[in-house]
Point group: C2
């Protein structure tokens, strides 16, 4: 059942992001050139505001419970080419120019393994096995 | 700090999806032809299993608290061309062939509005204003 508030959120032009119970939005970052999904992460209100204001991706790390400028340690920043929101404004899609690799494992995308049906379950296979850098050299661990 | 379990999850070939506190994974569906992000939704274990087994997208609706075969009401099914998982296996990316429109508003993608900086905040503008069908005619509400 749609309410008037739902209708405004879906068809209006005011940006009213709908944060979840943890005060976060889901954000999908894709490579602006290839369309590949690079990563899925979260933004709190401050990360969202900084991303809009600076044109570079900021996220909120749930594991570290901290605001996080993408690339602040590795230098692998994301320049935002376009930002969109979805019908109910609880998700963000950013098309980015990725410097270096999006993934902490050294791969361009975090989605470096395919899932395929096998033996009644599923198995993985690598799409990108090796990555572009040695994480130990970049992050020192 | 990485543990041996983290390392297995990131570099191994066994599929060990990491469900969140609500027993869900985040799933991003993109158009296999254009690369456009169509929608962001959630899968529980059963939705994931059915998606792998049938090659069509199944989700779990948090608002309706129910398993949901994409397109079961509208006919706008998603045929899965490729499924991937990310480094820590808590997100799924499916590349799909979308019949009709992914969005319940009648638009091909749920991400039909751009977010742009304006007056110290942000404003929206339509990328796809009209959509492909009349939701009332398809969903009867």
């Amino acid at each position: 059942m749609s309410t008037s508030a739902d209708q405004d959120r879906e068809e209006g032009l005011s940006f009213s992001p709908k944060f979840d119970a943890s005060d976060l939005l889901t954000c999908v970052a894709t490579d602006a050139a290839s369309g590949e999904v690079l990563m899925v992460a979260h933004m709190n209100e401050e990360a969202l505001r900084k991303t809009v204001a600076t044109g570079e991706a900021w996220y909120y790390s749930r594991s570290r419970q901290a605001l996080w400028r993408k690339g602040e340690t590795s230098g692998h920043v994301q320049r935002v080419v376009e930002m969109r929101t979805d019908c109910d404004q609880d998700a963000i899609w950013i098309r980015v120019e990725q410097t270096g690799a999006a993934c902490h494992t050294g791969r361009h995308s975090c989605f470096y393994r395919k899932v395929e049906a096998a033996d009644g379950g599923a198995r993985l296979s690598f799409v990108d096995a090796t990555g572009q850098f040695d994480p130990k050299a970049v992050y020192g661990k």
